[in-house]
């Protein structure tokens, strides 16, 4: 039924490896800031609960950071192995930005990560706090480089094309390209939301199991307050990002909305659900709200924006995919707001730590941040198609010339490995979470000589297979 071309397999492989990878840095970014806040509160209020939580989440941060480094190793080479013609064309821009990201990560590892993970008893509290803050800033700097590189592929600027190759002309314009600020903000808030939902679900899990100590309650309520602020903020940021996309990549918006053509003098309706059919050039079975689509995207009652039919067939992204990935993201975003409002309401009534229904919902929503983040990322990347660099290079001209057979075998090996390696890693993280914060709040890394910043995984000493890790 399905037959994949070499291009399809290369795209699926890239999507697969990034899907696995992106989860770890997203949680790293969110947890780093969370840890900086926790340590700040500990220094300010000297309340034991913040220190206990700091030590607990530091271990999970460390394992997660390690997984991110390992899964990132493949990324540094995949541009060449799978997208060699892209690398030759735009390596002069992507290469330097990725190199700066790598340098930032190593700067962090060499400088501050070690102090943060293993220096609690070795350096003064102020210096330790400084290290934690620097790690948090460092993760954001890392994200900045990656998103600058990615945004440039969506809205290229500051370059010239000389002899069929991209040449950077103005690095400030390359980095601060038109979609970069929106994309960065949207991604960072998504990382914060993913982390808040993950931390909240961890707290909810322990609450459901009857644990009521201050650290668990604090963990849950901090996560819900973060959600309360970040979820509505993300709606506003997402709206701005959408307007920016409409300005620079109108075909993507048309595909996301399943919008084919305008009716003169009438605002574009919002298609809630439907099935975009690329061949028939229509969205089947649609349920729509009149004028709302145009209102959202143009902030005008009679608003119109280009439909897919205004673009040549070969320039249209696959609407059936992005229409739905976009709705998954938005739908989960709405559920996040529901969770935030529900927990705020119960907090106001004073029963947020006792409602089993609320805790079950929060537990269920644990992975929703990451799922929404991935759905959003699929939307923007698949929506950029058929271009790899928007308007400059088509994806089919970017791919390395490998045979279907080569790619299929490579992909199968990759999937098997990833499932074992990162599956084990994820299980280990969940075991650490399942164990919950210890009563003594022991700092990770006593004086064991081989706990090293270059090996963040060594910060967590719990056994992987030990059944005792479920006891508390």
């Amino acid at each position: 039924m399905l037959s994949f071309t070499a291009l399809d397999i290369a795209r699926i492989q890239f999507g697969f490896t990034i899907t696995f990878h992106i989860v770890f840095p997203a949680i790293t970014i969110g947890l780093a800031s969370y840890l900086a806040i926790l340590e700040g509160l500990w220094l300010w209020k000297k309340n034991e609960v913040h220190r206990t939580l700091y030590h607990f989440w530091t271990k999970i941060f460390a394992v997660n950071f390690g997984m991110g480094v390992v899964s990132g190793l493949v990324m540094a080479y995949q541009f060449g192995t799978n997208w060699s013609r892209y690398s030759e064309f735009a390596g002069s821009i992507t290469g330097p930005l990725l190199t700066y990201e790598v340098l930032t990560a190593f700067f962090l590892e060499a400088g501050f990560l070690g102090v943060m993970l293993f220096g609690w008893n070795k350096v003064g509290p102020r210096l330790h706090y400084f290290a934690t803050v620097m790690v948090a800033i460092g993760t954001l700097v890392s994200a900045t480089w990656i998103l600058a590189s990615n945004s440039w592929m969506h809205t290229p600027a500051g370059h010239a094309v000389v002899d069929g190759v991209v040449v950077p002309v103005d690095w400030m314009a390359v980095i601060f390209n038109p979609s970069f600020p929106y994309r960065l903000a949207h991604m960072v808030v998504a990382a914060v939301l993913s982390t808040a939902l993950f931390v909240g679900a961890s707290g909810a899990w322990h609450l459901l199991r009857g644990r009521r100590e201050p650290a668990i309650r604090k963990m849950f309520s901090m996560a819900m307050w973060t959600l309360f602020v970040a979820a509505p903020l993300q709606v506003a940021v997402g709206d701005l990002h959408g307007l920016n996309t409409l300005e620079h990549q109108p075909a993507k918006i048309a595909a996301m909305e399943g919008h084919w053509e305008n009716v003169p003098g009438q605002g574009v309706p919002l298609v809630l659900f439907g099935w975009p059919d690329m061949d028939a050039e229509t969205t089947r079975h649609r349920i729509e709200i009149p004028r709302l689509g145009g209102l959202i995207l143009t902030h005008d009652w009679n608003g119109q924006y280009p439909g897919l039919k205004e673009f040549p067939r070969e320039d249209r992204p696959n609407a059936a995919v992005v229409f739905w990935t976009f709705r998954v993201m938005v739908g989960l975003g709405m559920l996040m707001i529901v969770l935030a409002l529900w927990s705020a309401w119960f907090h106001w009534r004073g029963c947020a730590h006792e409602s089993r229904a609320l805790h079950r919902f929060a537990l269920l929503m644990g992975p929703s941040g990451l799922v929404a983040l991935l759905a959003g990322w699929y939307t923007t990347e698949i929506g950029r198609q058929p271009w790899v660099v928007y308007g400059l290079m088509r994806t089919r001209d970017a791919v390395s010339l490998h045979s279907e057979l080569t790619l299929s075998i490579a992909f199968a090996v990759l999937v098997a490995m990833y499932v074992v390696v990162f599956g084990t890693g994820i299980v280990y993280v969940l075991k650490l979470v399942g164990r919950g914060p210890g009563p003594h709040g022991l700092p990770p890394g006593g004086d064991s000589p081989n706990q090293r910043p270059a090996r963040p995984l060594s910060a967590a000493t719990e056994l992987l297979d030990s059944p005792s890790s479920f006891q508390h």
Binding site: V70, G72, L73, V74, A76, Y77, F79, G80, T81, N82, S84, S87, E88, A90, G91, S92, I93, G95, P96, L98, T99, Y100, E101, V102, L103, F106, F107, E109, A110, G111, V162, V165, V167, P168, W171, S400, L401, H402, T406, A410, V413, L414, M417, V421, Y428, S448, P449, N450, R452, A454, R455, L457, S458, A460, T461, E462, L463, L464, D465, S466
Partner: protein
């Protein structure tokens, strides 16, 4: 004339590759030597000698990949797509090795053998495919054709590249064994001294075979070495190889400590020098030079600023880590 940016970048990447080969070489060597040691306490001691440093050693590989893309996008594109399969297998080997290294510490006794095997296979695969890539890289022409879609995607797989794969496994085993001679004592050290002898013989055979095979296959490389006056400039390389080999055998015989490891480093450095002499100034043999493959000066200059700031820091930090963890690792010492 201005600054020769491609040359500076070639030196940085060349330096990074050498650092990688030397440093990750002995880490991978430890995994390669695992089959020769079955005692649990000995295996733990072997792993503990590199526990503080192995991850930092891998830094150079990531930096090399990103730096190559930034400075020589054309070479990055050609080489990585030509070596798609061996590069992927090498990376998977490294991931497998790295993760099993950590989970080995965290596994209970029932699962430890699984992660031990993973550590062995990962180390072996990473080393072997690095060697395969090296051999295929020297055989540049067919590989370049493959990258442009006009050749065979399995062009990298030749008797020569399989042979260099085995050669690199032996070289890393040598680095690992002599590193352990330096870092351990007692029974484990005696075993390592014993195992170094056959490894050395294998390496000398490998060097000899590659030394004859390469110039026969590649007249240009033969011309580089065997024409006058080049011959007199380059003759110290094989002469020093003989000296280093003699040094290893001699130092092994008299209560060795750092001697065999230092001689091994010299041997690997000489192998690397021979390789550079053979292909210079090409970044994709036999015809694409570093200047032809370089990206625009704006990219090279922009990235150089960051590299010159951060690389000295990484070097200082690595040196510090080795200094802190100097001295012998004792068998049975509990780390976790």
């Amino acid at each position: 004339m201005g600054i020769d940016l491609p040359l500076i970048w070639m030196l940085i990447i060349g330096f990074g590759v050498m650092m990688y080969v030397v440093m990750d070489g002995f880490d991978l060597g430890i995994g390669i030597l695992f089959p020769f040691i079955s005692d649990r306490a000995h295996r733990d001691a072997m792993v503990n000698t590199v526990a503080p440093v192995w991850d930092g050693n891998e830094t150079w590989l990531v930096l090399g990949g990103a730096g190559l893309m930034a400075a020589f996008p054309k070479a990055y594109a050609i080489l990585l797509s030509a070596f798609y399969i061996p590069v992927l297998l090498m990376l998977l080997g490294l991931i497998w090795r790295g993760v099993s290294f950590e989970f080995r510490f965290k596994a209970d006794d029932a699962h430890k053998p699984f992660w031990d095997k993973a550590f062995m296979t990962g180390s072996f695969a990473a080393a072997f495919f690095q060697g395969v890539i090296l051999g295929a890289y020297i055989d540049g022409a067919s590989v370049m054709a493959a990258a442009q879609g006009t050749g065979d995607s399995m062009a990298w797989l030749t008797p020569f590249s399989l042979f260099t794969g085995a050669g690199v496994v032996a070289a890393y085993a040598l680095l690992g064994a002599t590193w352990l001679v330096l870092k351990t004592e007692g029974e484990l050290q005696r075993r390592m001294i014993r195992v170094t002898h056959p490894i050395m013989i294998a390496i000398l055979v490998a060097i000899l075979v590659v030394g004859i095979w390469t110039p026969i296959n590649h007249p240009a490389i033969a011309g580089r070495w065997f024409s006058l006056p080049n011959f007199w400039f380059f003759v110290p390389v094989p002469a020093l190889v003989v000296l280093a080999a003699a040094g290893i055998f001699r130092s092994l015989g008299r209560d060795p400590h750092a001697g065999p490891f230092i001689w091994s480093l010299l041997l690997v450095f000489l192998g690397y020098s021979g390789f550079v002499i053979s292909i210079w100034p090409h970044i994709v043999p036999p015809s694409l030079s570093i200047w032809e493959a370089a990206g625009p000066p704006q990219s090279l200059g922009f990235t150089l600023v960051g590299a010159l700031l951060i690389i000295p820091m990484i070097l200082g930090y690595s040196a510090w880590a080795y200094y802190v963890f100097r001295g012998k690792v004792k068998v049975g010492e509990e780390y976790h």
